[in-house]
Amino acid sequence: MAAATVTRPRRKAAWAVADVIVLAWIAVPLLWLLSLSFKVPATITDGSLWPHRWTWGNYSGIFRTNDFVLALRNSVVVAVITTAVAVVFGAMAAYAVARLRFPGKRALVGTALLVAMFPQISLITPLFNIERSLGLFDTWWGLIIPNVAFGLPLAIYTLSAFFREIPWDLERAAAVDGATPMQAFTRVIAPLAAPGLVTTAILVFIVAWNDFLFAISLTSTTRARTVPAAIAFFTGASQFENPIGSIAAAAVIITIPIVVFVLFFQRRIVAGLTSGAVKG
């Protein structure tokens, strides 16, 4: 006991140092980006974290052209549809994986894992050719389909872990209460797995939102090009002007939805809704 009280202040200090290091490690690049987005072009390279002359010019600049606005629209559409499709189908697949015994289950889980691990870059050329011949190239669906393919395994893995946590007896109770398997799923299991569904949706959304490889390879115009790819095409007003300020401003803007999402749903993600189902 005495030893514990003696070491407590020192332990606290050690933890504080560790926390600061981790925070700095994560936050410095973000702060740097934020700082760049507020600097005027002349001071971009001054190496100071604090902008000496503040400007909104970078932000107003990117919204003045159509390129960024259209890209933002494309990003939202692609990420939202990808998330919805992956979560809905992922939930059903994950439920089957967690609860049912069916032929080919191991193969399904194995394939899902394989897809999740597959290096995406090696698929780009075949995808490019397939989408060209199917007319999907440079369309929303041309991005949504490959994104779903990589989002689904993630959704299945995350959700089946959540479903496994829900006591079996709840479905048995629902079945005896007169529910069809579908009703048991939609009225008992899905509400209980809501934190899991939200978590999964956020994870899939982030993956789709951040996708650069598909976006840069499978689009060619502003018709479907998403923000991460569009940023790469940013140029200054003239060939000689440095676009870094605009790039930083665009990067900050696409970070906002993710931050909002996570802050907003943090409590739900953490909440354990299943308490009280069984004796606990």
Partner: protein, 400 residues
């Protein structure tokens, strides 16, 4: 409401394990039947087959006049209470109870009326708008019961509904369950591993062991006339005493001395033709402190002298423990019972005996006392088959 008939019900799991074998039981309309046995005996599997939560491998199951083997649980019109209650945690007590009715598209007013009626019966009215997480164990248990009774189903199936409650609440709820069942008159199948619950609750008790039905009968009948060692050892608390004995010249020779047996029993022992070794079973209350008995009563039984190991006074009676020489009775059934002792009372198959004496007995630790045995109540079992050779049973059924 309806009766339930199980005919030659067998359950084999996909891995080949045989959980229930050739189970036959006819449950009358309105009857309260208990399935009891040690863990792993197949009682819950049997209940799940009645509910439709497990497929039936072979045999026929009827609820009312319908064969329900292939019906989904929702089409069987039965309600079930689970051991862990399985309340829907995201719904209030009211919604939990109304769930089944809503699924059945019952009109709103009727749902409301039925839920409130059930809540009234179960003292849940003040808690209707709370969530299960905010209820005590006993309240959750009552919600689980309420969810079953609002349905007014053909039958209640209960899977160890009281085993998660503490001892005091369990006794209280036991009475409540019994009263509720009488009041509603709904056919009920109740699974438990607790022989006290089985004895106190049921109209009839079905004892299972290793997937097979051992004996079905009224609680008293099982207690007085167990068909085999397993039932004898399982029913009763403290459990029956078992001693190895040799049958010679019409007498049972054991560590307790020689005991005369009835002609019928003698014929049964001689008739089986597998030597003279048997297992003798005596319930604790069939012993008495000989000094408390009048001479003529003493002469109706046998008396032996033994040193007292321990006395436990219950106020109303005294449990007196003895160690007798002569080794322990061995049989597979007794070993199973001993292995399951965690969830029940281990029968005294060792060299220790327990006797229930009148509270007036002055027996004390270390003292030698004369112990009287009511020889007319001794059971004699075949050590090989476990069969009760001394059985004179009126109309008790035994699964083949």
């Amino acid at each position: 409401m309806a009766g339930i008939v199980l005919e030659h019900i067998t359950k084999r799991f996909p891995d080949g394990a045989l959980a229930v074998e050739d189970f036959n039981l006819e449950i009358a309309d309105g009857e309260f039947v208990i399935l009891v046995g040690p863990s792993g005996c197949g009682k819950s599997t049997t209940l799940n087959m009645i509910a439709g939560l497990e497929d039936i491998t072979s045999g026929e199951l009827r609820i009312g006049d319908r064969v329900v083997n292939d019906l989904a649980p929702k089409d069987r019109d039965i309600a079930m209470v689970f051991q862990n209650y399985a309340l829907y945690p995201h719904m209030t007590v009211r919604d939990n109870m109304a769930f089944a009715l809503k699924l059945a598209h019952t009109p709103k007013d009727e749902v409301r009326r039925k839920v409130e009626e059930a809540a009234g019966i179960l003292d849940l009215t003040p808690h209707l708008d709370r969530k299960p997480a905010n209820l005590s164990g006993g309240q959750r248990q009552r919600v689980a019961m309420g969810r079953a009774i609002v349905r007014d189903p053909q039958a209640f199936l209960m899977d160890e509904p009281l085993s998660n409650l503490d001892a005091k609440l369990r006794v209280q709820m036991r009475t409540e369950v019994s009263r509720l069942q009488r009041r509603l008159g709904t056919t009920t199948v109740y699974v438990t591993h607790d022989q006290t619950e089985a004895m106190t609750l049921g109209d009839r008790v079905a004892v299972m062991r290793a997937g097979r039905l051992q004996q079905v009968g009224a609680p008293q009948e099982l207690y007085d006339h167990p068909v085999n060692l397993f039932v004898a050892g399982f029913i009763g608390s403290p459990a029956m005493n078992f001693l190895p004995a040799a049958f010679e010249n019409g007498r049972l020779r054991s560590a307790l001395g020689d005991i005369e047996v009835h002609d019928e029993v003698r014929r049964a022992i001689e008739g089986r033709g597998s030597g003279g070794d048997v297992i003798m079973g005596i319930r604790p209350e069939h012993f008495e402190d000989a000094s408390l008995l009048p001479e003529d009563k003493r002469r109706q039984g046998a008396v032996f002298r033994e040193k007292v190991d321990l006395v436990e006074s219950m106020g109303s009676d005294k449990y007196v423990f003895f160690t007798v020489s002569g080794g322990r009775a061995t049989s597979r059934e007794l070993e199973e019972l001993a292995a399951d002792a965690g969830s029940g009372d281990a029968p005294f198959a060792g060299d220790q005996l327990v006797a229930r004496f009148d509270a007036a007995s002055t027996a004390a630790r270390g003292q030698e006392v004369d112990v009287w045995i009511d020889t007319s109540r001794i059971h004699v079992f075949d050590p090989g088959t476990g069969e009760n050779l001394s059985l004179r049973r009126p109309g008790s059924t035994r699964a083949a």
